[in-house]
Structure formats: C-alpha cells, structure tokens
Symmetry: C2
Subunit: 416 residues, 2 copies
Amino acid sequence: MSHTAELIAVGTELLLGNIANTDAQMISQGLSALGINVFYHTVVGDNPDRVRQAVDIARGRADIIITTGGLGPTCDDLTKVALASAFGKELYYDEPSAQRIRDRFAAMERPITENNYQQAMLPQGCTVLDNDWGTAPGVAFESGGVHVIMLPGPPRECEMMFNYRAVPYLKGLSDGVIASRTVKTFGIGESAAEEKLRALMNSLHNPTLAPYAKPSGTELRITAHADTEAEAMALIDPVEAQVKEILGDVVIGVNVESVEEVCLSLLKEQGLTLGAAESCTGGLIAKYMTDLPGSSAVFRGGVVSYTDGVKAGVLGVPQGLLDQYGAVSPQVAEAMARGAKAALGCDIAISSTGIAGPDTDDRGTPVGLVYLGLAYEDKCYVKEFHAGHVARERVRRQSAQTALDLVRRYLTGLLK
Amino acid sequence: MSHTAELIAVGTELLLGNIANTDAQMISQGLSALGINVFYHTVVGDNPDRVRQAVDIARGRADIIITTGGLGPTCDDLTKVALASAFGKELYYDEPSAQRIRDRFAAMERPITENNYQQAMLPQGCTVLDNDWGTAPGVAFESGGVHVIMLPGPPRECEMMFNYRAVPYLKGLSDGVIASRTVKTFGIGESAAEEKLRALMNSLHNPTLAPYAKPSGTELRITAHADTEAEAMALIDPVEAQVKEILGDVVIGVNVESVEEVCLSLLKEQGLTLGAAESCTGGLIAKYMTDLPGSSAVFRGGVVSYTDGVKAGVLGVPQGLLDQYGAVSPQVAEAMARGAKAALGCDIAISSTGIAGPDTDDRGTPVGLVYLGLAYEDKCYVKEFHAGHVARERVRRQSAQTALDLVRRYLTGLLK
C-alpha cells in the first residue's frame, strides 16, 4: 500500500523568515527514499487555532502527518497539545521521559525548571521516540488510519530524530523493507547524469534510480523494496554496478558525502599528508578539509596567498614568474603547489590561482578562469579550469572542490 | 489597514527535498519589514488540481497570495494557468512580454523554442512585473479583495523580482511609505538583546523594533510608517540612537551584513592590511574575508597551521613554547599572530588556536576553548574565548567571527 505524508512545521520564526524550513527538505528526502509520497508542506506559527486548522486540512488528504517544532518548554508544547486534542487523545505523565529529562539536565550541570516536565506529558497510547539529542521526546501514534509523528524543530535534533526514530517507525508501516544506496559523483550535472542514465532509469521498477542535485555533486539514489534487507541489497548491487559503468570516473564513492571526505579516507589509507596554497579560493580548500573531524591526521595546513608578496615570501614563487606570466597562470599554479609542498612539509600539495570575480585583474584575465596545481614526489600536474562567468561564491566553491577532486584522482591512479 | 499574506510555493523539487524553500524565507523577511502578517506557507507540487486546492484554502484566510515557481516553459506555466482559472481570468497574449523574451534569447545567443511564448500569455487586467533576471514575467492582479502576485522560483530571480517588482506593488497597497533600517550586532544573542530592549520595544508603536537572530549576529530592525520616506527616516533616527545607546559596543553598524564587511571598510578607510594564522578555524577567517569582493586590497593572506610543524616552520612559533604550553595556549596564540604579521607582511595579524571538537587533544583541553591573538605595531592582544561544548562547525564559525570582531574593536579603539 502506498502512503501519502504531509509535513507541518510549527514556528513563528519560519513565518518571519528568521530561518528556512530545512527540516522539510531533510524529511522530504528521507520520505522519498522510503517511497512515501509528499503532496504538501505547510508552515504555521505558534498559534493553537491555526495549528489545529492545518492539521484538520492535512488529515483529509494524507495518511501520515509529520510535525516539526513546537515541542519545547518555551512554546508550551503547543504542537503536542494541539495534535492530541485534534485526535481526541488525553495526555499522561510519562515517568521514563521525565527521568530522561532529569538525567539530561544533570549531565549538562544545569538546574531544571518546572516547565521542562511538561515535555513528559504524552498522548495516551503513543510510541515514545526517545530524544538523545535534546530534551523534548518525540511522539508517534495512529488514530483513525492516520499516523502522526511529532519531531523537535532544531535542525540537527530533527535530523537525528527523523533518521533514528521516525524512519524505523515508518519502515514498520510497510510490508517488507525499503533500502537505498547513494552513488556520489563529482563533475557532472544533474541533467547530464539524467541523460546518460535515462534508458536505465526507464527500464527499472524495483529498484528505482533517481538523480539529486547537491552543491557537493550530483547523487544517484537506488531504492529497492523487498522482504528482507539482504534481498533489497541484492537488488541494488547490479544497478549500482551499471551506474558506475555508465558514469565512469566521475563516480567518487557510494554512501559518501563529499569529495573531501573521500580524500580524507584515501589519504589515511595510503598514509599521505596534504597541504594547500590558495589564492582565489582564499582558504576554502583548507576549510573543506578541516570541516571534517579527524582531518588533522592528514591535513598539515595551508597558505592563503592572496597577494603576490605572500606568494613570493611564504611560498617562494619566483618574482620573475609573477612578472612574466601574472599570478593567474599555469606557471604560478605550479610554483605555488611546489612551494607549499616544501613549506608545509606535506606529501601532496594543491594550489589554486584564478579570478573569482566580480572584477577581473589588470591583465584582463576572464572571470572564472582558474589554474589548479598538484605537486607530488618531484612532479607537478596543472589543470586549467573554467568555472564560467558565475557568482563569486560559486567560482570559489567549484574551484576548491575541483582541486580536491584532483587529489582524489591522483590517489586513485586516474591522473595521467 | 493591516494585510495578511499567504505564500504558496509550486514545485515538485521542493516536495522531493531537492531544495529548501528559501524563497519563502526571503519573502517572509520582506513582508515582515512591510508590516504584512504571514500566517501560513504552503508548498505544493507541479499538479494543477493540488495547486488549485491550495489557492482555494489560501483565499479564505489571506488577502494577499504570493506564489513562487511554476512559471517557466518546462512546467507549462502551471501556476499562471491555475491562478487565472481560480480567479476567473482569461489569458491574453501580451506582445511587449513576448518581445522581452525574444530580446533575452537574442542577448544569450540562444535559439528560442516555441513553448517560451506561452510565458507571454497573461491574465486579463493584470499588472505585468517585468523580469530583468530571467524569461518568465511576473504578474500581479486583484480580484474580489484578494491580491495575487506570481513570482518565478529560482532563488536569485525570485529575490530580485520580489525586491524590485513585488515590494513597490505591495507598498502601493498601503497609504504612505514603510521604511526600515537594521542595526547589526555581534556577540549578543537574540534573547539577551530582547531583554535589554524590551522596555523600549513595548513603548514603541511607530516605528516598531524587532530582533532577528542571524548566524552572523542578532539584527534589530526598526520599521516606520509615514507619509514620506523622509518622515519615516525622521521617526527611525531617535530609535536607532536609543538602540545604540542601550546595546553599546556590540553594535557593529547599520545596514551592514557582517563583521567581516565592517572590517573590510575600516581597513580600507585606515589604509591598513590584515593577515591571519589559523589553527582551529582552519581557513575560515581567510574564507570570510575573501568572500567579499574587493578584499584583495586589504587582506594579504593567511597561514592555516593545522600541525605543530607548520606553526614552527612557517610561522616561526618556537618549538619550546609548543612543548611547554601546548598548541592551545595564549602563548602560542601570541606567537602565531606575531609570526603571521612578519611572514605575511601585514599591519595587523589575527590568530586562532583551540579545540573545535568533537575530540579533545592529548592534554585534555576542553572542546570549545579557543585563544585568539591580534598582533599590531610591536604589541599583541590575546583573548580567551569559550565557544562551549557545541558542534564543531559552530565552534569554528564563532571563533572565526570573534577573531574578526577583535579586528573591528581594535580599529574602532575599543580594544583596551
């Protein structure tokens, strides 16, 4: 049986535009992977009557209602009270939930205020979704054929509660299991990937294959429905192999988040260290690497050489090269990478030099033209990259990620 | 008369979670500044019946409906057709809009396909909102006391069309003008700011004063309603002065986006250059500065010294200091800042060294403890900063922004 879900986000801060409804995006992705349709998202403020109105509309057109927000003590647990009332459920005091709240405050060494216990008042007959990431427990119940799931609003808490509490509950609603696997790519757009995979996508029913555009690279999600996890995986395996075969070396991995994550794993495996010399990316390569916990084991550091003086002084780029070819040149990209490798004492060094825009340099170099260097052993590879005349932020992001993709290609033997 | 708006976003990609509904956030902020209430956001897929259902619900509870998305040729101009039908309007072929579409394709040197002309079919009696940022024109009309505004979905196009087309139209709905000004702070939370300003906020009717939590620092928005822009500004001036008086030195500027933007202006005014030596912030300080166009005039560069070897080798931090006090110490923060000032040849250098987490170092330094240095002339100021045991990304962001706030404080004579 196919289910239809509706998401209701409760929070005046969303209606004032203080935050975007990223919870809805995250949950929609998860529901899509479970094969559950979503026809509407609704956002409503901290107002009991309007929450009730949104619920009454939703129950008439969906058999799963997932709410986010409005569960904490500051909003008087508005969502829980409104939903329990809408579905004719009494609230009871759940001692195990109260104990978890007490324990959590004790661990934070903060005094507990009385209004926190209100969070332990739960609808009769509900499934408690224990919250290991915050104080307000989540709740799930069924009433008159409609399943209601309530999750806290803060994005990280919501994500953990959805993935580790709501998803298992939702899987229990369907016969068999739904499993999915994601093939991550770098350097191919969603529409180009779709074109290459269209024949395969159209030929599939179970598993299904769907592309997702992400800033960190297009993802291909393979989703299978079967009686057991093992059977679902067996359905996914050959499709994964076909996707890899068709897309080739733009595939960076399976169930991985980003090219930097792949680089970190490869560097650790091979016992190599990395460093960076950044001009137009201005620290972004270092930021991407150091965003990852554990990166200090392989990332030695970087130099942001935003001026010729720093390129010459810290990285030892010969002033003659800068004068003759300009800072945005393959020669300087190479000298920066070699200089960083020596100065930082790393096994591999990458460099970037280009024009992020909106203005060009005094040589009239086009905006979006970037040279990337990769120094290793006593050699250096240089790549010319054209980000195109796009926004500054995008030139910088694409350049930094393309530099990291060079590292991945080098470490997997793809760099010729 | 007070207006109530409802936002309807049309797009299956939102329901699949491919993108977040950032258009709703942007528009909500703008409506809030205009004093227009927003009680609901709805997201619906590319389905005419469901769009119609969402519109029928919205017209019963709002007198302004703003739609985003569903205007281009790929979706058969679904939104325009559905809204015209819901409000009983015929579509007509608008030759000026067709000409603009022709001109746009000519400028892009791309052939025009027939389905693009469908975008020139507009509801009878509407106000055309010319689109200078894409092909699909926006539309506004009034019917039975309800104002309908249709905007394209791609975020940048939507933002431009909202600010330059919808906002003037909406201002025309109220008598007089609404103007606002934003006081930007750094280092004070929304609730702390609200507490300090509560008496003032409660005493005000026109202008009004409202706090907004932003990752780059709490904003206080002062909004006035008057017959003319000049009268509105005259109402805002004394409130701005009071807000500054009450909040003191956490105010970083008026109508500015971020502390790095303030630093860039101050450095340019004073003819000074900046550099950075980053350990725990791993390139973020450099990223923030180089995110800004024109930053190369004052930001010389940075060193990301993620390992002791780079701290010693590139920044010249004495190995004895590292051994005696550890990398996370005020002594090393000072040596890093002084070393960066020398190596990068800048007037002011900032440094960061701390534990971003999730793991601590081998000395058991608490996660979230960070030392920030600021070297200038032959002096150095060091600040101990506690980000608390929060997520890695937050420790890094707060540390980098606090370092930049030190630069602001130094340049405005606040650093004692």
